[in-house]
Symmetry: C2
Subunit: 281 residues, 2 copies
């Protein structure tokens, strides 16, 4: 079961059970997937990288022209929901803001706190992926602001369909490839490659700016690794010692198969997990 | 104000005011834009093309692997909401089905009945449009089922952003162009061209199968017009006598400017409006 807390500037945060009806049927978040969100991991009651997630949500909101409550209102609500309960040592915190009712009015803003799905935790031990065409090229999409490439909007139907397609075809997740042949990202993750003590991730054009990769890069730089962004192709995946999907809740998922071809976990796995402070690593 | 009616197989339809909270905060429709929808016009209490909309919603649901209630359950709910009130001579009826709560369970299904926006009705007198890059090519997208091209999902953030971009740049709506240079569709409409008594619309690859254009084509064929699908480019728009955006609620909107260049309403306007039975035409 999850908890939900509403975020209404100037009003005390109200925490309810997620089985309560909370959203109007004519909310633009429901009718049009029109809104933005963030998700992060809560470890022993403390959300990871909360300021970075609030900052990225503000960037996404700017891309869809949505006025969000101030970060303080979100922080108050998050404190309120964490005070009621963080169900497990690891929990998932989601922040959501929609455009509100179709007839106009304030955005609908809330946070949810719930368990981390077992399937998400299992990916920390390895995930098989399919390479799937994303249908566009990242650098081209980045030039067209109405395409919202790089915004974390509620319109995730394609991301969800790609993950269903992977599962129906014997894999656990997806890495999207642009129509120009460049590696983009996963439906809910950043792609990371490692060879020796060099880490590589695709450049930011047309993809979401990953918060967990940024945290990893900061820690890895301090530890003497080389960290870089570079245009990557499927051939680069084949040549890398290790490949990972990294994201805020699953954290670090080693890719153990691509398009049905098994591959070894990179020898960097244990050190990367320590750098990222993966619980239990 | 709008009315909302729930669709739960085996239970009587319940009609409520749209200001009531009805949806859980952890519904996948809210969290991921994961669901499908349809919208149609209600004229004097009768929804237009209802069977066709229910059939298309079933196709979209198949593309996202969502089990919908039977058409009869929808029809019962629609009868119930229409019995309570069709607020104006013309009203907008929307059918929505989401994947339901994140933790699993039945889809969340409901219909809304509300007024037609004045801005929608105004488009029947003319609309200026921008040509905007859709970021992908229709035929390529049609080959990748996970891209959901041609499914009417709740993930409309890009469509909404494109319409905002148009309004911020002095236009009323958008015609999307594929990365291969072919005309695709509007964010919420089919594109129609007329020259003489020949009507042309883009082929179905990667775009939504328009119900209103199908109705128009049936009526126009009976009246002796030539109706066809053809790959169209921006140059074809320039050469056509008339261009329209057609959709289920606005019906027929003559394009009166493209990228800021004014153009005349096609001489076919009045006859097309009669063929489509536009109220008041």
């Amino acid at each position: 079961m999850s908890l939900v807390v509403t975020v209404v500037p100037g009003r005390p945060a109200v925490v309810v059970d997620s089985t309560s009806a909370l959203i109007r049927a004519d909310d633009m978040g429901v009718l049009r997937g029109d809104g933005v969100f963030e998700t992060t991991l809560v470890v022993e009651g403390v959300p990871r990288d909360l300021e970075e997630h609030l900052a990225r949500m503000a960037v996404s909101a700017g891309m869809v022209e949505l006025d969000l409550p101030a970060a303080e209102a979100w922080q108050d609500a998050i404190r309120a929901v964490l005070a009621v309960g963080s169900p497990q040592p690891q929990a998932s915190l989601r922040l959501v803001a929609t455009r509100g009712p179709e007839s106009g009015g304030d955005p609908t803003c809330f946070a949810t706190l719930g368990p981390v799905a077992a399937s998400t935790l299992a990916q920390r031990d390895g995930v098989s992926i399919l390479l799937l065409d994303r249908g566009f090229a990242g650098p081209e999409a980045a030039k067209a602001p109405w395409l919202l490439a790089g915004a974390k909007t509620l319109s995730y139907a394609v991301n969800m369909a790609a993950q269903r397609y992977a599962k129906a075809n014997g894999a656990g997740d997806v890495i999207f490839v642009g129509s120009d042949g460049a590696i983009l990202e996963g439906p809910t993750a950043t792609v990371l490659l490692a060879t020796g003590r060099t880490l590589t991730t695709p450049p930011g054009d047309g993809i979401l700016a990953g918060i967990t990769v940024r945290r990893l890069y900061a820690a890895a730089s301090r530890a003497g690794w080389n960290v870089r962004e570079a245009v990557l192709t499927p051939a680069d995946l084949g040549a890398a010692e290790g490949i990972w999907l990294i994201s805020s809740v699953r954290l670090l998922a080693p890719v153990v198969a691509i398009d049905g071809i098994a591959r070894a976990v990179g020898p960097q796995q244990a050190e990367l997990a320590r750098l990222l402070q993966v619980p239990g690593a």
